[in-house]
Each structure stands twice: as structure tokens, then as C-alpha cells.
């Protein structure tokens, strides 16, 4: 079997290649797209296996060693994020296959839907390549470029639905993303000016407190926070995520916001962990608390299903930030493991939710929560997927979210900062509230009245269910991914970053 580097290259090259191919040969887009998704899954599998065997790895692109060249850095966290993207992306791709063929199948506005499919695949594959590149790269400026790819593709995908609201949301998203990139770029520039190097691992050995470092770090963080949509900066997220096409919503909420959070985790969790003061972590944690409360409160008030899910994303992102001070607090790996678990399970659960909501939308013709009673009768599988995903968002055992929250709770209690733990529990209860709002309607018996629309293809329903089940079982299977994380346990400790090939 080829080594990890080969698979890593595949992960970037294959989506790019198929993106271009599916653009040039538009007629085959819906063949190339799923093909790329499967290949990507295969490559991640290969990467995981060879990573488990041979451990962390550094790969010099162009053969240029560190100060000059760009390096891939493959470690446990990176592999897990890639795997998350691969699995969720595969499910979304399968879903999209059914979604677009269903919409094209309906006579109304066929050509328009065909156009959407034509552009969905290359855009999504480019987005995918951007995500993979981001997770693999260890170079701050290279990450800027991948962030741009991700952001631009995400914006285009958001606007793909063509609804005025979606376009407006996309415009706002784009402006925010511009601002975020700008801030990030300046941060990179300042750090480069200080230390003359762009590689994260190398940087972590050089950093020393100084005014320019603080400014650079503040700018990097601000840019990423904007892209991650942390609480006061979340305003752009709900309309964008709620108005996009269903597979796009799943991608945006499940995967795209994770990318910038992953970067924050890298920066705050390892690269600059040595120099950052604890108060900064507490600030982010406090904002996370705000996100949990505000997002959940808004989700409780929404009238439309997709808006509710989007606000729940805002709330769930808050959890990830609450984890940051706990990472700082915790000498052991528990808090880090918890964050990774939360990321993974949220990706699965949220994608599944949006996918199920998309099926419901297509079937019912609307997504007004108040009028969805009885949808279970016509869409049992999707309703089940939605509820299951919701349950895992609530952090019910044995979902991955539960194990994550459990670990964080333990850390916060052990460290004497119990308020973080209380916030997690409160957030779970609030999540239960908004999931209940939908679930209580979905599960009610009522004579079916939606059946005039065409049947939802099974692939759409089952891909959502599989993701939801995965999110639910993630807690039971948590051991193996976290072992993988520990295999590059150096992941989080700066000393281990210098694993040269």
C-alpha cells in the first residue's frame, strides 16, 4: 500500500481534477462528482491506515524544506478532520445526487435545476479540495489561500439556489468573509514580519511575547472568529445557511464552519498555547457561552425549520469555544478529545438535520414548523433521521456529543471552573427545547396530506439516516478515532510538531 503522503496528495489533487473535469464536461458532472466523493473516501481510508501504521508525517511540497517551502503536516487531528469531511461529504454527495435528479425530474423549471446541478458539483468539489488542503497544510499563508477557496466556493454555493434571500445572504457572507480574510492576512503578514517564517510548527518554537505578536494574533483570531461565526459575529450565518439548497446547507453547517474553527484550535491549542494568557481563553469561552444562550434562544423563536437549524449551529459552535478555556485548564488530553468529538459529531448530526429538512421541504413544499405535523406519515425515515440527529445534538448518550460534553464537564469540575460545565448542561437543555419544538410536531399522528408531491428518492432519506446514526454511535465508537488522535499525540504538544520525515 502506498504511503500516507501519496494519499494526502490524492486528497487535494483528486477533487481539483474532478472539479475541473466536471466543469469542462458538464454533462458528466453528476458522474464525476460522486466518483470524486468515493475516491476521496478511499484516499482518506488509505491515509488513515497508513497513518495508523507509520505515525505523523511531514511532506515537503516541491521538495523544498522548511523555511522556504510549503509543508503538509499529517497528524491525528488532521486525519480526523479529513475523515470527517470525507464521510460527511460522501453522504452529502449521495444526497445531492438524489436531490438534483429529483428536482430535475419535476417538470417545473427543469433547465434551471439542471443549471444548478451543473454548477453544484464543480463548486462543491473545489470547496472540498479547499477543506482538504486547509487541514493538510502547515503553512499560514497557504492556509489563507485555502480559506479563500473555501469561502468563495461556499458563497457561490449559497447563492446557487437563486432565491433573492439566498443571494442577499450570499452577498453578506461574502463581505464578511472578505473582512475575515483581510484580517487574517494582515495577521499572517505581521507574524511573518516578526519571525520570517510561515510554517505553524516552526513558528510555535519561535514565538515570544511582544506587541507585534499580540497584534498579529488578535488579527488572525478576529478573522477566524468572523468566519466561524462566533456569537456577536454570527449575524451572517443563519440567513446564509437557511436559504441555501439543502445539500449546500448541510455542507456549510456541517463542514465549512469547522474549517476555521480547526484553525483556531491549532493556533490557540498548540502553536501559541505557550504565550497566550489564560484571560484570552476565558474571553473566548465567555463569547461561547453567549453563543450557546443566544443561538438557542433564537432557535426557539424561529418559525422556519431551516432557520431553526441554522441558529442551532450558532449555539453549537458556542460549545466548541467553551471548550477552549478548558483546554487551557486541562493538563491531560480530555478536553482536546472532547473538542474533537464535538466537532465530529456536530458535523454528522447537523448535516443529517439539514438533509432531512431538505427532504421535508421538498415533500411538504415549505418548512414552516407549525404546519409540519404529520410529516412522519409520509417521510418516516427522514423524520427519524431528523429526530435522531437532534437527539445527538442535545448530547444524549451514547452520542458523540454526549461523550464530548461529559469529558468537558469532568474537566471543568476537576479544574474548579464549574461554570463552564453548567453552561454546557444548560445548553443541552435549551437544545432539547428547540429539538422538541420540531420533534413534537414531526412525531404527531395526523392524516397525511403532503402526498401530492413526488416521492423522495431513498438515497436522500437513507444518507441522512446513516449520518444521524453515525452521530449517535460516535460515542460508542469514540475510542478508535481518539486513539488516532493520540497516535499523533504530539498533535497538541509543540514539541511533537517537529516530526520531520
Amino acid at each position: 500500500m502506498a504511503d500516507a503522503a501519496f494519499w494526502a496528495i490524492c486528497l487535494v489533487v483528486a477533487p481539483l481534477f474532478f472539479a475541473i473535469s466536471s466543469f469542462v464536461r458538464g454533462g458528466l458532472a453528476h458522474v464525476f462528482g460522486p466518483l470524486a466523493a468515493w475516491l476521496n473516501a478511499l484516499a482518506v481510508l488509505g491515509l488513515t491506515v497508513s497513518f495508523a501504521r507509520s505515525g505523523p508525517l511531514r511532506y515537503a511540497i516541491g521538495g523544498w524544506q522548511l523555511p522556504l517551502g510549503i509543508n503538509f503536516r499529517i497528524d491525528g487531528l488532521c486525519v480526523l478532520m479529513l475523515a470527517m469531511t470525507a464521510v460527511t461529504g460522501l453522504a452529502v454527495s449521495m444526497y445531492a445526487l438524489g436531490y438534483f435528479s429529483l428536482r430535475i425530474g419535476s417538470a417545473r423549471q427543469m433547465s434551471r435545476h439542471e443549471q444548478q446541478r451543473l454548477f453544484f458539483w464543480p463548486l462543491w468539489l473545489l470547496l472540498w479540495a479547499g477543506l482538504n488542503g486547509l487541514y493538510l497544510s502547515s503553512d499560514l499563508f497557504n492556509i489563507y489561500v485555502t480559506l479563500e477557496i473555501t469561502g468563495l466556493a461556499a458563497v457561490s454555493l449559497t447563492a446557487l439556489s437563486g432565491k433573492p434571500a439566498a443571494r442577499l445572504a450570499a452577498l453578506r457572507y461574502l463581505l464578511v468573509s472578505l473582512l475575515g480574510s483581510c484580517s487574517y492576512l494582515l495577521g499572517v503578514a505581521l507574524l511573518y514580519r516578526c519571525y520570517g517564517i510561515l510554517d505553524m510548527a516552526a513558528l510555535s518554537r519561535l514565538v515570544s511575547p511582544g506587541p507585534l505578536l499580540w497584534c498579529g494574533l488578535a488579527l488572525l483570531t478576529a478573522g477566524l472568529l468572523l468566519k466561524t461565526a462566533l456569537f456577536p459575529l454570527h449575524f451572517w450565518l443563519p440567513p446564509a445557511h437557511a436559504n441555501a439548497l439543502a445539500p449546500v446547507s448541510a455542507i456549510l453547517s456541517g463542514l465549512v464552519v469547522k474549517a476555521s474553527f480547526y484553525l483556531l484550535l491549532r493556533l490557540w491549542g498548540e502553536v501559541f498555547a505557550q504565550v497566550l494568557p489564560p484571560a484570552a481563553y476565558v474571553l473566548l469561552g465567555a463569547l461561547g457561552c453567549g453563543a450557546v444562550l443566544w443561538g438557542a434562544a433564537q432557535a426557539l423563536l424561529q418559525k422556519r425549520l431551516k432557520m431553526l437549524i441554522a441558529y442551532s449551529t450558532v449555539a453549537q459552535l458556542g460549545y466548541l469555544f467553551i471548550a477552549l478555556p478548558l483546554i487551557r485548564l486541562d493538563p491531560g488530553p480530555a478536553a482536546r478529545q472532547a473538542v474533537v468529538l464535538l466537532i465530529l459529531s456536530h458535523a454528522c448530526a447537523k448535516s443529517a438535520m439539514f438533509m432531512a429538512a431538505g427532504s421535508i421541504f421538498l415533500k411538504a413544499g415549505h418548512d414552516r414548523i407549525a404546519d409540519l405535523a404529520g410529516i412522519k406519515e409520509v417521510l418516516p425515515v427522514s423524520s427519524f433521521a431528523f429526530v435522531l440527529a437532534g437527539v445527538s445534538l442535545m448530547g444524549f448518550p451514547p452520542s458523540g456529543g454526549f461523550v464530548g460534553k461529559w469529558l468537558l464537564l469532568g474537566v471543568s469540575l476537576a479544574g474548579g471552573q464549574w461554570w463552564w460545565g453548567m453552561m454546557l448542561v444548560t445548553g443541552s437543555l435549551l437544545a432539547a427545547g428547540y429539538v422538541y419544538r420540531v420533534a413534537s410536531r414531526l412525531l404527531v399522528f395526523k392524516a397525511p396530506f403532503f402526498s401530492r408531491r413526488q416521492a423522495i428518492p431513498p438515497v436522500m432519506e437513507w444518507s441522512a439516516v446513516l449520518l444521524a446514526v453515525l452521530a449517535m454511535l460516535l460515542g460508542l465508537l469514540a475510542g478508535s478515532p481518539l486513539e488516532l488522535l493520540a497516535a499523533g499525540n504530539q498533535v497538541f504538544s509543540p514539541a511533537g510538531l517537529e516530526v520531520l520525515r
Binding site: F141, L171, A189
Partner: protein
């Protein structure tokens, strides 16, 4: 005080003005202009840092980064402009209308 710091400060000023404009103006075209100003400011800071004090050697890496940045920025600008036009054409919201002569920092006086 060396002359390079002029350009640093100039870049900072552009950045600040751009940020102010981005937040303050209501018209999307103006916002996009402001964002472009901001990126220009960042580029200026990057390039002026490439020629460290008393160094004869110019660091080409920031130059390459700025080149990349310029291309990225024109790409995003293009998409943003098309989006603005589409939003304008398909929503019920008046973005620009009328009074464009009077708008200043997004306020419409009178």
C-alpha cells in the same frame, strides 16, 4: 524614523479607512470598494516589511504573497459585484436607487 515606516503607516491608515467604510457605508458597492482599500492597505504593510531596515536583499516572498493576494482579491471582487447586481435586480430592496449623489458614508442627507 525611516521612510519605510511611512508606508507602514500609510497602509495602516488605508486599512482603518477601509474598515470604517466597510462598516459605515450602506451601499454594497461602497462596501466592496472599502474592502478593496483594506486589502490594499494590508499589501502595503506586507511589501514595506519585505525591505527590512538596512537590508540590501529584498525578500521576494511577500511580493509573491501580495501577487497572490491581488489575484484573490480581484476574484472575490468580481463575484461580489455580480452578486450585488443580482441582488439589486431580484430583491425588493432598494440598494442604490436615487439619491446616489447625496450619499456619503452611507447616510442620505436631506
Amino acid at each position: 524614523m525611516n521612510t519605510l515606516l511611512f508606508y507602514d503607516f500609510s497602509g495602516l491608515a488605508l486599512l482603518a479607512i477601509g474598515l470604517h467604510g466597510l462598516i459605515r457605508s450602506s451601499h454594497p458597492l461602497r462596501k466592496i470598494l472599502a474592502a478593496n482599500l483594506m486589502t490594499s492597505g494590508v499589501f502595503l504593510i506586507m511589501i514595506s516589511g519585505a525591505r527590512g531596515t538596512g537590508q540590501t536583499m529584498i525578500d521576494p516572498v511577500p511580493h509573491a504573497m501580495v501577487l497572490t493576494g491581488i489575484v484573490v482579491s480581484v476574484s472575490t471582487t468580481a463575484v461580489a459585484l455580480v452578486l450585488v447586481c443580482l441582488v439589486q435586480e431580484t430583491t425588493n430592496r432598494a440598494l442604490l436607487w436615487q439619491k446616489r449623489k447625496r450619499e456619503k458614508w452611507g447616510r442620505t442627507d436631506g
